[in-house]
């Protein structure tokens, strides 16, 4: 047997490993750099066992020593396994505890957020309700004032500005109230068996009167009947909102198209405009609360950023959906709403 046969090289390697493990384990045992005390102790003992398992080969050992040397091998394995178990298990246990603590924190934060959300909804509801109360007498007083005084010139202009702003405030308060209802899950729609066609005709007729000053054409197309279950008032609100948006973004001389059709077992209404169009980023956030795209400079219509969020809430309560299609900037947009058709639909 030479010094460089496999047995001696192995003994050298295992003894050296033992020394390294003792150094690593003892260093951590003393300074607690990486390992906790228990795995560090086990590693040190595993290193000692490895060393005393193979190092005796170099000094020579008798047959009597053989069982002790073999026992060192077993000790090496046991301490190594214990080190790995305590080290690895400790890491996983600590992580599990950290996760548990984080979950508790998240649960508390969630509770606080829910409470804050509830308070916010109550606040918005209360504010919108209290703001709505004085608006009606204000509107009446403005009309009385305009009629009684027969105001002309600057006084008439002032009254018109006042009237416009009161109307805008009224819209804002109405939107805030709807948002509060949607957010708190209290918005109710009364679904009744109806025909959508008269609703479309009524909204189209009313909307046509607002287009004259911008020279925008309104085109419309729908079949003779479209039986659906809907809340007429809420559906009118949705359609009027979509048409108002289309008017806002359609340049003078442009066209708005209102059409409806039966698509499968659903009724789809589309409001298409020839306006600025939308890119993908805008389409993605359009139905979120307070989300607005930049109004064209020539328009004096300013939205609240709540209209489409409310439309989405209303459509969801109809069991329907709302989305927008646009090929990009300068290529117009098409807002689509879809609700289930009644069984008797053709």
């Amino acid at each position: 047997m030479t010094l460089f046969d496999v047995e001696h090289v192995e003994a050298l390697a295992i003894s050296a490993m033992g020394v390294v493990l003792v150094i690593v384990g003892a260093t951590d045992l003393g300074r607690k750099r990486v390992l906790e005390p228990l795995p560090a102790l086990c590693l040190t003992l595993a290193g000692l066992a490895a060393f005393f398992w193979k190092a005796p080969l170099f000094v020579g050992y008798s047959e009597d020593d053989y069982p002790i040397v073999e026992f060192q091998e077993t000790l090496f394995f046991l301490f190594l396994a214990a080190c790995i178990f305590f080290w690895f298990g400790g890491l996983l246990t600590r992580h599990a505890r950290a996760l548990e603590a984080a979950n508790v924190k998240i649960a508390h934060a969630n509770e606080r957020l829910q409470e804050a959300d509830r308070v916010r909804n109550e606040l918005v509801h209360t504010i919108s309700h209290d703001m709505a109360n004085p608006l009606t007498p204000m509107k009446i007083q403005i009309r009385i004032l305009a009629g009684v005084t027969g105001a002309t010139g600057p006084a008439a202009t002032a009254l018109k500005v006042l009237d416009n702003n009161v109307r805008r405030l009224e819209r804002l308060v109405g939107d805030l109230r709807d948002v509060a209802l949607i957010e708190s899950g209290q918005m109710k729609v009364v679904l009744q068996a109806s025909d959508l066609v008269p609703v479309l005709e009524g909204v189209g007729q009313a909307f046509k009167g607002t287009l004259g000053q911008k020279s925008i054409a309104l085109e419309s197309a729908w079949p003779a009947t479209l039986p659906v279950d809907l809340d007429v008032t809420r559906m009118e609100q949705v359609l009027y909102n979509l048409l108002s948006n289309a008017r806002k973004f359609t340049p003078p001389g442009g066209t708005i198209t209102l059409r409806a059709a039966l698509v499968g077992r659903r009724v789809r209404v589309e409001v298409q405009d020839s306006g600025r169009g939308l890119d993908d980023e805008e389409k993605g956030r359009l139905f979120q609360m307070f989300s607005q795209v930049h109004s064209p400079p020539e328009t004096d219509e300013r939205g609240t950023g709540l209209g489409l969020f409310i439309c989405k809430g209303i459509m969801e309560r109809h069991g329907g959906r709302i989305w927008v299609d646009s090929a990009g900037h300068g290529r117009g947009s098409t807002f689509c709403v879809e609700i289930p058709a009644r069984p008797e639909a053709p």
């Binding site: 496999v6 690593v24 091998e73 396994a81 298990g89």
Partner: protein, 97 residues
Amino acid sequence: MANLLPPDVAAVASLVAGCFAALLVMGSLWRARPEVTGPRRGWLLVSLGVVAFSVRVLGHFVSSPAIEIARGILGIAGSALLVTGFLILRRPRGREA
């Protein structure tokens, strides 16, 4: 089992302890994230080292020159794997890719 001598029992105990440790680490590494357990490469090397030593123990039950050489090689490889693995695991976090 009645015919097993103390060294045989010790070899079986070594085999079981080593395999259990290696299986524990390898099984957990499959799902645990490196930011929790430390570098995967380090644990993998340690596990392979333990497996090498465990397989080496099997040679205890068979005696032949070829097996002795194989045991020697496994012992050398196992030592290298264990030392490298432990050193990687003890490196400060952030240096491991």
